[in-house]
Symmetry: D2
């Protein structure tokens, strides 16, 4: 994939889904749920169903619509299911790391889907290996599966509580067992998890947008440390571990979640417009038009335009069919790597002083070429406005945010970045302004902006690759 | 493909590209050019190159990025190339109809890419068959190839002129021969064709957006009836047939072309905003916000908002990963078929009177569900505004516009449509208003609105399928 | 494909099949017929059916069982069909050259399958190009199709006769038209063609083994110059061109045909045993056992053993799963290239004087390693016996026999070959002995042994690649 | 796969391979070794290599030549490797059960390939589950891997001994660890395992034919209960568990092994000829010719002919390109299901009394149609001779022998079978005669003939499917 220079976004690790609904085609419902969660991961997808006797699994690499077809769906029988859509940091064909992870236990099948990252995975992994459990992948999910299977707890709920007592880090889980679907959210509430309802039963998803797609209604968000159990009696929520000071990932609001989802009781699109409005208040610009970096910067730019009173329009056109290409541009076509994704709209830009609004800057590789495109399109001034604070620290809770050395704001000051991207002015949203727009004074993880991690981060987790190194890919 | 209910757009037949540029990697340049023209056809793609001795071809079904890889590109050697990206009306796997069409002739290789539709194809086809030429496909392109190969003209340019003398209908062509690349636009100028320039040579494309992507500059549009010949001396333009009253397809401006292209010397995005502004003047609405049907209605909605003074915002979120799915929603998930593509944004819609702007309505299958989604999102009133006139007649010049029986505006009057889609009000742009926004009083084909075809349409062409019927697909 | 050193056989160009049988599943019957003809070509396969209204086609690269499945077979409707299985001299993915070749003509669909090679193809090709017919492939079959389509004959039978009047070389054809299936065998009878019968209708195949597989019975062989027409009235045979002195390819008996086929009214297996017996009479060996080069040399070796009175046994084991491998043996594994196909049987060879019988030697690349394997297996003497005369001339009638420079017998005398392959003795069957074993004194093409071609061979056809060169593969 | 009626053979579970050879391309060597072992399993293949730092794996469904290519081989770096070729009793796409099985442990990577079947797998499985180890597949190999990883032994050799102390049943293993390759053969010696030598190191394979293919020489067979450790010092053999009364599977000689392999110090081809000779002594026939059921019955038939003095010839031709076909013969083509694999040779059969020799009869589905084909080919009498005793009991040591209800000899007596297959006479080899031909009076497992299993077989293992049932396939 040649998209490095085109794409300067943080990367989510996954979307998860679960359902218990006798009488419904649960595989099909899960399929459409994953389809709505596709933005959380495009590298692979999988579904496990259970029919009371046999657990059925299908998973593969690629988009949900590429992995499943009527033929393989027809085997996925049952009244309960879990599903997963995956973003992968690692190389090609890592089907071994794909989820759901399904095993047999004395108490029947156990299937898990996971969104997050355990910060004490190396220690948990070592414990398992010392207990003589061999591990066939480098994924946290396999660790969780074996911790649950080997917990010796009196029942699954007890096993989950025992797991929560040892685990540190971000984990939203959906778990399929013989008799129930469980949803689990870590005590910090790093990643979202929502409970919904259909006529035939209950369901869980990373985001509420999945509910709209399949015609379900939202019941409520699962809170930090909670366990929800869904079975034929309905659902029951218990506290699996004491809630810690909440640390929901701010980037769910800024970039990850679909604009039509509800996160922390707030409309994501609404928050994004509010971020743009706050940005306009904090960093006004003497300009003629406001344009977004499409598509992720669009709500923020609309907010900026509303607050500033400047006209909103489009200044960059995005190739809707962009996607994986394995063809390298030749030297003569170097420029094409950004131009393949974006072209300027001279008719809107000619002679204009332009405010361009982006949701975030990670490595800064795209911003410079975009400023250049706007100038080529006729903009006389380009003012870059970023709807979040400078990202200066890597994430260890499940977001692929680049290493510290790659983060441009960790390497350069504001003027250095402005000069690097050749904008006439550059402003980021302040942390306070961001929280104000979100409408909260706390309860969010802002570690990538502040370096203040809600959980102590060991050196070991910072060098996680050593554990992946045991397995090559072939 | 299960997208019928989600997708109510006319369909273009193709994007074409050609280049003569010694010293450049022409296959790679053509690849990136086709990538930029991907919106004109997603069903298949192909490239022919010629190295002075051997013509090389690769074509396949799917997106440009799926058809080509470094391995098959490595065979596409040469200093000249033509390429094609294709929309297909017919079923699966019609690789036989894929372009470019390449044959051997006494005068060397002949490869053709074509955008359009010949209205007298049945007659031309019959003539060829009577001459004893067997035809292996149902495509117009094979007809053109054999007419050129068998014309007996003194040279290719003469053969092209002889072809133009017989052919009726829409045809923008790029032709590869032993010594030159030719570009041809029919005398009515139905479909666009543009000449561009790189340091190493000249090139042709359906739209100028392809030039931006590969760093070329636009020289000028090829005019109706013109032939351009590109060879090692540069380019030369001649009149191949007398220009007819120009009849450029209005839908290039309304929907087909990429917003960043220049068509008929006008920025497409600019025209779309102007259409929206004119629509606001003709059909104002007593409302609170303006939202687009994303993405194709966005520029029109921005224009409507600018003119009306109403705030522009997003009201529907489109699943960016929508694409081919072969999974049918079950009855319980019927609703999902539209919800898979769009979800409402209640935070923006709640309690609001909403103007929703779409570029066009063809069969009307999507509009009703969209209105319904907006109401479910909390809109108190929904006013549908359409940035073109009612489509009442099918197209015979290369656009798949649905049959007359399927066109909702051919079956119902305005109130009937409004009632059918359950909007509080509905208005289309007038033909005069549309032309005024485009800035022209004539020179466009508006047959789909008026039924007044620039070329007489025979019954035979209206039942083209009979000719395709000889070949089944398997 | 890395099989060059393992495989020293001449290569057939194809197997053909046709059927007219209302009420039968003709596609399925053709499938099983092609399956039985698979030994005549493993590179590609195709079927055309016609249902009285629409012609259906499916073809692809690979084995018959790889090209067809229930899904694509389900489209192949009709009461008549032609099919083809293909050996290809050229590179990868040459789907364009695949058969059947299907076109539309004024008189309905025309589909052709062809086994053979036209020696005056360059002239016929030039004539077509001069008539202004463009050719999209390098295959003789496209030439035949266009000659028939453009012949201007009063009906298909007349067109076929006109084609036969111009064509020189080897051609067994099966032709599908609107109302009938035709079978055609060239006036020399180079390649076989047989008529068979089922309850529901008649059928044609390259070899009678296809009839056994599908439960049909043989009616008779089509004779040189004959045309058979099969339609709803039954079949009718006419003389399409005067028969020339018959020149059936001797290699059908020696190697190509399946042992259970009847060729020229003789059992192929029976002829092969007779060749072995004659070889034993002409070239006895003072030895202990007779072993074949499996599998093609087995009948000849059985005959040799019967006549010589020496015990027959196996001395070399062939890997049954040999097939295409794209992995190159490293230098350290050089030896593997033959050892991957054959291993010796020391228990049978130890201390024995061995006669090894092969059907033919083409380039001589396998014989040396096989002798070496036998010695490594413990043979004290190795006497190579070859059941045909030395091959000294290339074939221009549709067999890929290697070029003259590659033919070992064209480069070395008997002692030179013996020394090259390091056998203790070497003997070939004489031409007279071969004909005696076949039971004929004439009527066969022995040009590869004698250089006396039944049809004058021009320089042009000897350099056929120049015509293929116009099209590269990509 | 539609081959049920064509194929009446027992099925082996796998071929295994391992190598320790610094300086050699071990992946490539393993590839060619697996290629030679392809007859032991055609459903899937896999290789693990280790380069001292990272373990590399590639496995897939299909033939060895289909699973590997230069691209995926290029990742398989290292100086040691294990490989596997697999026959699968279960359905499609069971990639999860594919071998090698690779895990990470505290002591580095652990990869295992396995040929056999553990008769106490259900108990071992239950023990692991009770220890809290979750199992992700239904394979014995995963059990072995976790028993080794969790044994708590002081080193791998100790862990292997602990495993051998608990395991019952058939297991030939090759194990890759950080510092050495281990080979293990169960104390009964059910399945073969051989040690070989190359200049660069030592290697292990199921059969010695793999050594011939890659140019290695045989050192010796691994004996029951032995462990061989191969590392940079060379190899060392120890007794891992006391040898039990040896119980080598007789079917390795009768059918499984490649004829050019050495098993129990005997040439397999030689044993097969001896079985045929003994059969001729025990069950002579008043007949004219001896023909084999090709190819597996060929050596036995040669032996029968030698001893009886009757001429050996071919009577049935096997389609060399038989393979998986997914096309079902229609009712009209019912007969094709056997005819697709075999056709008779009337020229050899006409008017003859025929002895047909097969290696074994399992379910008896093929024998009847073959007798019928011979009669259709003109045989006046057909005498079936089978080179092993009647199979009356299923196998629980890793051979898929059909269930008892399917075994024809468990359901009918000799006359019943003769009548069922419509032969003029039928005879099986006696058990004593079989052992005499093999040259041993004991040391073999003849349980499928006698029902006397070397290891007590529990009901549980007889219903193994219940454990596989937890996982469906999708």
């Amino acid at each position: 994939m040649v998209n490095t220079p085109w794409d300067d976004s943080p990367k989510e690790e996954c979307g998860i889904f679960g359902i218990f609904a006798p009488g419904l085609d649960v595989a099909r419902t899960t399929y459409f749920g994953l389809y709505a969660l596709q933005h959380r991961g495009q590298e692979g997808a999988g579904i496990v169903t259970y029919d009371g006797r046999v657990a059925h699994i299908h998973k593969g690499m690629g988009l949900v619509a590429q992995v499943f077809n009527e033929e393989n769906m027809s085997h996925l029988l049952g009244h309960m299911a879990v599903g997963h859509t995956r973003y992968s940091t690692t190389g090609s064909n890592q089907l071994r790391n794909a989820q759901p992870y399904l095993i047999e236990t004395l108490a029947g099948p156990l299937a898990i889907v996971h969104n997050g990252n355990l910060t004490n995975a190396p220690m948990l992994r070592r414990n398992l290996l010392q207990r003589g459990v061999g591990l066939s992948s480098s994924s946290d999910t396999e660790i969780i599966v074996h911790l649950l299977a080997g917990s010796g707890g009196s029942d699954w709920q007890a096993s989950i509580r025992m797991f929560m007592a040892q685990a540190e880090g971000a984990y939203s889980l959906v778990i399929l067992t013989k008799e129930a679907i469980y949803g689990v959210r870590d005590p910090w509430g790093f990643r979202p998890l929502v409970l919904g309802k259909l006529e035939e039963g209950y369901l869980l998803a990373s985001e509420s947008c999945a509910f709209s797609t399949i015609g379900a209604t939202m019941v409520r968000e699962i809170l930090p440390g909670e366990i929800v159990r869904i079975d034929k009696q309905g659902y029951e929520i218990t506290q699996g571990a004491p809630a810690q000071p909440r640390a929901l990932c701010t980037f769910e609001h800024i970039y990850f979640a679909r604009p039509d989802s509800i996160i922390d009781a707030k409309s994501v699109h609404h928050v994004r417009q509010a971020l743009g409005r706050q940005l306009a208040r904090e960093a006004p610009a003497d300009a003629d038009i406001v344009v977004p970096v499409p598509d992720s910067g669009t709500p923020h730019a609309i907010g900026y335009a509303q607050e500033s009173g400047l006209p909103y329009t489009e200044g960059l056109i995005k190739n809707r069919y962009i996607g994986r290409t394995f063809i390298q541009p030749s030297d003569q076509l170097r420029r094409a790597s950004v131009a393949m994704k974006f072209n300027p709209l001279p008719a809107n830009l000619q002679g204009k002083r332009v405010v361009i609004v982006d949701d975030s800057i990670v490595r800064g590789t795209t911003s410079g070429p975009l400023v250049q495109l706007l100038r080529e399109g006729g903009a006389t001034e380009v003012h870059m406005r970023v709807a979040c604070p400078p990202i200066m620290f890597p994430c260890f809770m499940g977001v692929d945010m680049a290493t510290q050395a790659e983060l441009i704001a960790a390497q350069k000051n504001l003027e250095g970045i402005r000069s690097h991207i050749n904008a006439d002015s550059l402003a980021y949203l302040s942390i306070d302004g961001m929280m104000q727009a979100i409408g909260e004074s706390g309860g969010y993880c802002n570690a990538c902006f502040t370096g203040s991690y809600p959980i102590p981060v060991t050196l070991e987790i910072q060098d996680k690759e050593q554990f992946e190194g045991v397995f090559g890919c072939g």
